[in-house]
């Protein structure tokens, strides 16, 4: 298989034959391939999409569906690490990952990722429905083929377009419950889609050297810091009102609306600081706050929905 061979050659550490020794991979290395931290955010946003969607879902089927979404996200992470092993090896943040470190052979990661990807899609189709399974399959394809293999190494807009992969999980959750797509799920998609650029570009501001060494055309590398800071502010200004859209459209209550507007104001305030300063303090604060922003927004959306059900109001 040419892809396997190519990946193996790219990932092989200099001067080492990755397959010469029996595997030293531990269970933890295979868990690391699944990118558990990314997976946790995927599962959480999918859970919110699943719960706030109209209709009833058997809890066991809901749990199995979330498990499938988690495994599918992990599979995408493993395939990403398989393909990116060469650039991971030259970046400080990723050099210790299982493949560049030589603990997992590239072919093993590829097989692991493909097996989990296929398994998660099929089981989700059987447990929930084939619309949800189809979106999960497309998400894995989009992350691996469109983002990892194509966009990441070819355009500074890589994480803008590629961010769609991370925005699909609430739509999958919604489809699990309803068997289709709704305006509400598209709004949740848009929130994560417009959240991704300021989140990743804040990180890339202090990792620009890493990306430059690896030849990844991240915005600060290609367009410079000033332009990146400007783009962060623009996307934050779009994100702030967008975050409140579920409330504006009547899909969520005042609790969510107030939280979204408050957190959105926080994002914009930090983005303005990032734009004005020349150091990295603001960028690091924005990166941390952006994670909190998404978590709080989805958590409050979930709480608001449960509260609405409890009080018997229709929002």
């Amino acid at each position: 298989m040419s892809l396997l061979t190519e990946g193996a050659e790219l990932a092989r550490p200099a001067g080492a034959d990755a397959r010469a020794e029996p595997s030293l991979a531990g269970v933890g290395d295979y868990i690391a391939l699944l990118k558990p931290r990314v997976m946790s955010l995927v599962v959480f946003t999918a859970l919110v999409g699943l719960v706030v969607a109209p209709g009833h879902l058997n809890p066991v089927l809901g749990f199995i569906s979330l498990l499938c979404i988690a495994v599918g996200a992990g599979a995408a992470g493993a395939l990403n690490m398989w393909y990116d092993a060469d650039i991971d090896a030259v970046m400080a943040r990723t050099a210790a990952r299982p493949i560049p470190a030589g603990r997992v052979a590239p072919g093993e990661a590829l097989g692991f990722g493909m097996t989990l990807a296929g398994g998660s899609v099929v089981v989700l189709g059987l447990a929930a429905n084939w619309v949800a399974a189809g979106i999960l399959a497309f998400t894995i394809f989009f992350y691996v083929a469109i983002y990892t293999m194509w966009l990441k190494r070819s355009t500074p807009q890589n994480i803008v377009i590629g961010g769609a992969a991370g925005a699909f999980p609430p739509m999958i959750g919604w489809a699990v419950t309803t068997g289709g797509l709704g305006v509400e799920s598209i709004v949740l998609f848009l929130i994560i889609f417009f959240w991704t650029p300021p989140h990743f570009w804040a990180l890339s501001l202090w990792r620009a050297g890493d990306y430059a060494r690896a030849g990844v055309p991240m915005l600060p590398v290609v367009a410079g810091e000033a332009e990146t800071r400007r783009q962060i502010l623009i996307y934050s200004l779009v994100l702030a009102p967008l975050g409140a859209l579920p409330w504006m459209l009547g899909h969520a209550g005042v609790l969510y609306g107030a939280t979204a507007l408050g957190m959105g104001a926080g994002m914009v305030a930090l983005a303005i600081r990032v734009k004005r300063e020349s150091g990295l303090t603001g960028a690091k604060q924005l990166f941390g706050f952006s994670i909190l922003y998404l978590f709080v927004l989805f958590a409050v959306l979930l709480a608001d929905d449960r509260l609405a059900h409890l009080l018997g109001r229709t929002v």
């Binding site: 010469a20 020794e21 029996p22 595997s23 030293l24 991979a25 531990g26 269970v27 295979y30 058997n58 066991v60 089927l61 199995i64 498990l67 089981v123 059987l126 447990a127």
Partner: protein
Amino acid sequence: MSVMVHDNGHDDEDGVVLTDEQKRRQRARSIAIAVALGALVLVFFLLTIVKVGLHPGRLAP
């Protein structure tokens, strides 16, 4: 490939001999695979029970 070499310089005909660390990690991987397979069996069992419970008529001849 780790191959045991005797004092007389000939390779051991038993082939690859794993170090203790390699054996320990191989065992851990085997246990993880067993747990994953067990979980898969449980998932399919629960799926079947729930699906049959939701649509009992589908089993009617």
